[in-house]
């Protein structure tokens, strides 16, 4: 046996850093329509191949093709596109608010809009989402009051969360939107618990858990999958793989060689890997998983392949760690443009209507922002009294004492 050579320490590197040309050759993109669509009662072991391919429905011509091309009502598609436009308009306006110093912090979902919005469209009222901070589409595709969202962002007197929580960490039980945690990954197991409860009660509600590629590294990713593996509750695990976690690329989460979708297999949980910029694919895969869950066939994990076009947050500058042009080079395109083209191809939409819709949402959000600002910005209007409330249902003596001492 030969001598052993010194071991080497391996630290994976992304395909590009500032100054480099973007290189997305690692993204293997199968033809739209080429991936099979199994029955919803399929065992996990029979669809392992679906974790390493990519389910896509829209082809380059904008047509919906293949077995995942569902019969979606026109209305639903139009709503999807509109919600994406609305979300994009919202994100832009909120960035402006932050730059104006009216809020401290904001996070955009640019380029990822199809995922939350397409998924939400496939769920039913009462199905609870356990989102991260980048699923504003779950709210913006519903009738949840935009003014309330902005008031939360401004932490003003009408903030539904009374100034207690950071901007964008919304909570909207009425709209099946679980309170967003600032701690990564913790909500994944909450979604499992929620789904277990639905099964325990013999209800038909399902839950949908959200996590980023980077955050799959957190330990509660495992607690969620282990429990789902054991109790087979009606939960959908959504991994939004937008390639980056602040400055770390997906390889630092172990997602370079194996796909995130493959994580499910060791837990006997079926998984799909889906083009997250393809609204039709998002909707179809979500409906499949939701139906599977609701019919009692248990959890599904879906890896949504997408790209974080925006900076991580308003505190971040991605030009420090990735090629400037990377987002333009992203091979799966812009979800808004792609659905727009599809709808135009189906003669349900036009460039004019698109422009018009853009300015409508811009206007809607401008007006809502104006109203929200009138209730205060940057925490103004919040009440110190609220600080002591809701720690417990009833104010315990020591908090009453502290509040009294403060004189509020």
């Amino acid at each position: 046996m030969s001598e052993y050579k010194p071991l080497k320490f391996n630290v994976p590197e992304p395909t590009g850093r500032p100054g480099d040309q973007p290189d997305f050759t690692y993204v293997q993109i199968p033809e739209a329509g080429s991936v099979r669509r199994p029955e919803i009662d399929v065992p996990a072991t029979d669809i392992k191949d679906l974790a390493t391919t990519m389910i896509r429905v829209m082809n380059t011509a904008g047509d919906a093709v293949g077995p995942w091309a569902e019969d979606i009502p026109d209305e639903a598609l139009l709503n999807g596109l509109k919600a994406m436009l609305r979300t994009r308009a919202f994100d832009e306006r909120m960035m402006t608010l932050q730059r104006q110093g009216k809020t401290s912090f904001y996070m955009k979902c640019t380029g990822e809009e199809a995922i939350a919005i397409g998924h939400k469209a496939a769920l039913m009222k009462g199905d609870m989402n356990f989102p991260t901070y980048r699923q504003q589409g779950l709210l913006l595709s519903t009738d949840y009051p935009i003014v309330d969202m902005i008031c939360q962002i401004l932490s003003n007197e009408k903030d539904p969360l009374k100034g207690r929580q950071l901007p964008i960490l919304y909570s909207a039980r009425s709209h099946d939107y679980f309170t967003v945690s600032g701690n990564l990954g913790t909500q994944f197991i909450h979604a499992v618990g929620w789904a277990m409860a639905s099964a325990i009660k013999g209800d038909t509600k399902i839950s949908s858990a959200w996590i980023g590629d980077g955050s799959t590294a957190e330990n509660d990713f495992h607690s969620a999958l282990v429990n789902a593996s054991v109790y087979k509750p009606p939960v959908i695990f959504n991994i939004v793989n937008n390639q980056w976690a602040i400055s770390s690329f997906r390889g630092i989460a172990g997602g370079d060689k194996a796909t995130f979708a493959e994580r499910a297999h060791g837990y006997d949980i079926p998984s799909l890997r889906v083009d997250g910029n393809d609204f039709l694919a998002v909707f179809a895969a979500s409906r499949w998983a939701a139906e599977r869950a609701r019919r009692g066939f248990g959890p599904t994990l879906i890896e949504w392949v997408t790209y974080r076009v925006a900076p991580h947050s308003t505190s971040d500058d991605p030009s420090k760690y990735r090629p400037k042009e990377e987002s333009d080079a992203w091979p799966l395109g812009d979800p808004v443009l792609r659905l727009k083209n599809h709808l135009i191809a189906r003669e349900l939409w036009s460039d004019e209507r698109h422009k018009q819709a853009e300015s409508e949402y811009d206007e809607e959000i401008r007006v809502a922002t104006k109203e929200a600002e009138s209730y205060g910005v940057m925490g103004a209007g919040s009440s110190p009294k609220d600080m002591f409330e809701a720690v417990f249902e009833d104010l315990p003596p020591h908090l009453r004492e502290q509040r009294q001492k403060m004189g509020v």
């Binding site: 969360l161 009374k162 207690r164 309170t179 929620w194 409860a197 607690s223």
Partner: protein
Amino acid sequence: MPQMSMIEAIRDAMDVKMAADENVVVFGEDVGYFGGVFRCTHGLQQKYGTNRVFDTPINESGIVGSAIGMAAYGLRPCVEIQFADYIYPAYDQIVSEAARLRYRSGEQFTAPITIRTPVGGGIFGGQTHSQSPESLFTHIAGVKSVIPSNPYDAKGLLIAAIEDPDPVIVFEPKRLYNGPFDGHHDRPASNWSKHPLGDVPEGHYTVEIGKATTFREGEDVTILTYGTMVYVAEAAVNETGINAEIIDLRSLLPLDVDAIVKSVEKTGRCMVLHEATQTSGFGAELAAQVQERCFYHLESPVVRVAGYDTPYPHAQEWDYFPGPARVGRELKAMMETV
């Protein structure tokens, strides 16, 4: 009235609540078919089925995390962490999630969960079966912490915890499961069937969270304590003849400040006594509050008797454990201080 051990009283509390409220579910490691390594859930799965009493993976974060999700749904989970020494993997879920859910969600989501966990030493269990981590939870805004010292309180507090709209941690002094224990490990163990506090009413009753009880009335010094140390304090009092008032706090957060102040104002001296390591133990909070609130009544400093600031040792358990001899010595010393 039925005579129950603390284990039976705890089991009975869950039984009473499960019978009354179908949203109460019980789970944890080995709690289902087997009924728990301390047998606290014995028979419950048979009675209520696997839908409501079940085994979990060995993942404490998952136990608490899934309980939070269930509670958000509308259930009332009562979970077991097999030993408090194993609660740390669940610490993030308790601190960052359960404790803050109500606050950060504008009360849209709450976490009415109960976490039962055996604490304390005296069973020759070494560093991973003996810890008393209560002060790591009393520092956290949004969770309540209680610790019964007898079957009656154990049942009443556990029912109150399950009914509480917020997360409650019930620390169960494992050395008291079968009988009161005064620290004299070399004497025969006694059991609850011969003790008045082993009288446990059938059916529903609660012990209010946030209320202490005077375990022994006395005039000369107040001993603030809880859990196993209540009996150690009693033994030390009997052995020294010092007429101490022993307050069994029962609830650490919220704390019964009125009961504490009343007693210390009467006696003018105060000892705080617990098994947990001293530095930043709950005794620090008690000493701080007593001197804040009763400064002008105090004839001598508040004295802390607590576990030494080392990991819980195995062979040296009876050197480590703050037993009646050490407590008695400290009591005498403080009575001599003027």
